[in-house]
């Protein structure tokens, strides 16, 4: 494999790396994507607000301000081709003080200039009619109908699947540790040996500065800015129908109420710079901050409604903007500082990078056989009774429910594995098994067993999300077990069959 010279090696399989991989798969190129985790999309791509921003709030003077509107517009076609969860539910940017109305009007003008479709001002009466559960003291809002919600991990999974279908090679569990030059091309060091490529794209999220340094480019600075998000109980489904934003401040888009694609209401994120690039811990302080704010915006939301929380890290660059372009190292390009609206801009960033590569001398010959489509997951739970019956007749594995909370069948677990899942989280984020109320209490053991059979590994090698995230250990691994003695009341495990 060492002898092979790739046209492009992409470092990092977040939504950005995956979108670029898919874009490049339209052309006759040899492309490899190197991801340090067990699967793609397990970085910031999995832990964000899942919003496809309309883009009126980012000034056109910035690169992100230019890419976001184009990115947003690309999602309808992408969704038709790739079948991920996405819906345009509309976004509201609310105003509480009369003094802020001119600011809102400026945003509307800025948005219209940039081509954000359908922006309009809703006065208090309209706002109350459309969103009756928001605080009564809001005086109006900007309505942006192109705002949407997405399941970001599904998007990343679909992008890489499409890319691979069209010839891109994916290497997971493959942390890049060095980047050098050799015989006029770049050489990327990985635990599986060096990878030679004409172009290397740095899409490593919060680690972009580390990767740039490996390539001898010391010009990128990334500060991780943590955002904590809180998912709320089903009780609150429908409490707002649209995305709810405050006016943006310099640092963030503020605290939001997000009716996610799956219907669950989410609130967040916080925005605090942290020193540690692995720090994705949620905190009590974060919860207090968010619920304090949201309580004033939507009084029926209480801290006790939080059912789960997570945190993600924004890769904030020292320029505050996306840093996309060639570097002092020939062939090495940064796609760095991709903070919000990075998810929204992923498809337009991919086009932008494609054009940059072309400028840098990469020949782009379209593939005649490019197939833009990938099948979505089968989603038994959402089918009609007739469809369900037909599915079972065609494949009896649809007749075996594995996850009872989300009604996920054994066939869907296998489909998730067919489509690339290698871990418990990979299965969960592809087919929802374990995402429901019991959080995997009933189905984890079944999924471990299926993964172990399908991947041909013993159960103790099945992980939650790769690396050291093991789930269980063989019996004799605890040190000095006393199995023969049984329990004091006479029960032993010996006669119990494995399930």
């Amino acid at each position: 494999m060492q002898d092979r010279l790739y046209d492009v090696a992409i470092v990092g399989g977040g939504v950005i790396g995956c979108a670029i991989a898919r874009e490049l798969s339209r052309y006759r190129l040899d492309v490899v994507l190197l991801e340090r985790n067990a699967e793609v999309g397990f970085g910031t791509t999995k832990t964000n607000s899942g919003i496809i921003h309309p883009g009126h709030d980012t000034p056109v003077t910035t690169l992100k301000g230019r890419l976001v509107v184009r990115g947003n517009a690309m999602f309808d076609q992408l969704q038709r081709e790739l079948n991920f969860g996405f819906q345009r539910i509309g976004a509201l940017t609310w105003v509480r003080d009369e003094a802020d109305v001119p600011v809102a009007m400026d945003l509307i003008r800025q948005g219209l200039d940039k081509g954000v479709p359908g922006l309009e001002w809703w006065d208090q009466a309209r706002l109350r009619r459309e969103e009756p559960n928001l605080a009564r003291d809001l005086i109006g809002a900007i309505h942006a109908p192109s705002g949407g919600v997405i399941n970001p991990y599904e998007f990343a999974f679909a992008l890489i699947e499409s890319a691979m279908k069209n010839g891109v090679e994916l290497r997971v569990d493959c942390p890049v540790s060095s980047i050098g030059t050799r015989d006029g091309h770049l050489e990327v060091g990985t635990p599986m040996g060096p990878v030679a490529a004409r172009f290397v794209l740095n899409c490593a999220g919060v680690h972009c500065d580390d990767i740039a340094r490996m390539a001898g480019c010391d010009d990128v600075r990334i500060v991780p800015r943590k955002g904590e998000e809180f998912m709320l109980d089903k009780r609150l489904h429908g409490i707002v129908r649209r995305l709810v934003f405050p006016l943006p401040n310099r640092k963030t888009k503020g605290t939001l109420i997000i009716p996610t694609y799956d219907g669950t209401i989410m609130v967040g994120p916080t925005a605090h710079d942290v020193p540690d690039k692995e720090d994705v811990a949620t905190t009590n302080a974060g919860a207090a901050e968010i619920f304090d704010y949201v309580g004033r915006l939507c009084p029926s939301i209480h801290p006790s409604d939080a059912i789960t929380a997570f945190a993600g890290l924004r890769a904030v660059s020292d320029t505050g903007d996306f840093i996309i372009g060639p570097t002092s190292q020939k062939g090495f390009l940064n796609v760095a500082g991709i903070q919000s609206p990075g998810l929204t801009s992923a498809p337009s960033i991919a086009e932008f990078v494609r054009d940059l590569l072309c400028d840098e001398g990469l020949e782009l010959q379209p593939r005649a056989d490019f197939d833009p489509h990938v099948e979505g997951p089968p989603r038994f739970a959402t089918r009609s009774h007739e469809d369900q019956d037909a599915l079972v007749a065609a494949d009896p594995r649809f007749g075996r429910i594995v996850c009872r909370c989300e009604l996920v069948t054994e066939a869907e677990i296998h489909a998730a594995i067919d489509h690339g899942a290698r871990t418990i989280d990979g299965v969960k984020f592809r087919c929802r098994a374990g995402m429901g109320r019991c959080q995997g209490g009933f189905c984890t053991s079944r999924i471990v067993t299926i993964l172990s059979e399908r991947l041909g590994i013993p159960p103790e090698q099945v992980t939650k999300r790769g690396g050291g995230s093991w789930i269980l250990l063989p019996m004799d691994d605890a040190g000095g077990g006393d199995e023969a003695g049984g329990t004091p009341d006479g029960a032993t495990g010996a006669e119990v069959e494995a399930c």
Partner: protein, 437 residues
Amino acid sequence: MLGRLQNRYDVVVVGGGPAGLAAAIGARDAGAGRCLVVDREPEAGGILLQCIHSGFGLHHFKEELTGPEYAQRFFEQALEHDIDVVPESYVSGIGIDSDGTRRVRVLNETRGLHTVDCRSVVLAMGCRERTRGAIRIPGTRPAGVLTAGLAQKFVNLMGYLPGRRVAILGSGDIGLIMARRLVLEGCEVVGVFELMPYSNGLTRNVVQCLDDFGIPLHLSTTVTAIEGRDRVSAIHVAPMGPDGRPDLQRQRRVECDTLLLSIGLIPENELSASLGIDLDLVTRGPRVSSTLETSLPGVFACGNVLHVHDLVDFVTGEALRAGRHAGEHAQGIRMARDNITLVAGDNVRYCVPHTLSTGREHTIFMRCKEPMKPCEIVVGDRMRKRLSFVVPAEMIMFTIKPDALEGYHEDTLRIDIRPLEGAGRRATDAAGQGGAA
């Protein structure tokens, strides 16, 4: 006959745990014709199949059985009663026709989505465990945080361990039993941490599973954070302060690779909710009449789906009764409507059933809010019953004889648990034997 699924039954039971099996037996004993038990697992028996420790059946069979042995007895009885027990089949919904026929949608690999018609339905879906989300522990989200019941499944059914160095949050029975089990398998159990000032498990389990093995039980203590990127590396624990919040000044770090949660069970009532059945906000199970009938006529409930039981023997008793009433209903026998609503009064968290009728004997299940000893149950002005102690972990069962309600004309009947004269102190250290029940 195992596995055969007919189109029409008198009684269909959803869930083949101890409750479901006993309910079907009760229905047959009451004279019902064809009865069906549907369970989604490969074998009937419910949660009992993973409870391989002994201690089951002391009340019902007057002998000590393991969970699978207890389940096996009922399974055999069900076959003797000519009940169809169909495993690997999932009840995905229930519809009600205008003529009152209940249509149960059963999904399995051989029949696809198959509709079974019946006259009565018994809900016996059991419960699930509360998860980390329910208590919102801050920190990271590594592998190694799991419910005690899942750990029990790993150990007892798969033959694997959940980790090497284990901390347990919550002192529910499953957690206590798993503490002992894991120590016997060679794991190190660093401690059981309980938010309340008393254990949430049966006293006998605290003694037999923790004390006998030298596992420390830290009361009034909770887990305040989880550490670890891929796998749990430590937890932070803190004692509860006087303001009811963890005292973070006294927080300490405990190294471990596993955190088991034993923080309570929740009845599985999504199916009931989809039928529009009235649910009790406290038990999180259906509201039921004295015949264990839900707000939907002809639909009955029993076992952990109705309210969380701590002993399977009580599940069996309740399920036999629910089944009997379901069987009678299927034969067109109708009881007089209940005319009294029970009200949970002082120190009563809930009572089941929710309504009673005069002229019949009633079995009441209830739980207290706080430990108390000695005390008495006061049923309106009708009856009193002395107890040496009550604790929230131990369900209280008592009967109201028909004559107790004779001539009672009120719409409601209030039940209180009151300290006995001059003895109002909290029994946080209650260790008496068999106070209730």
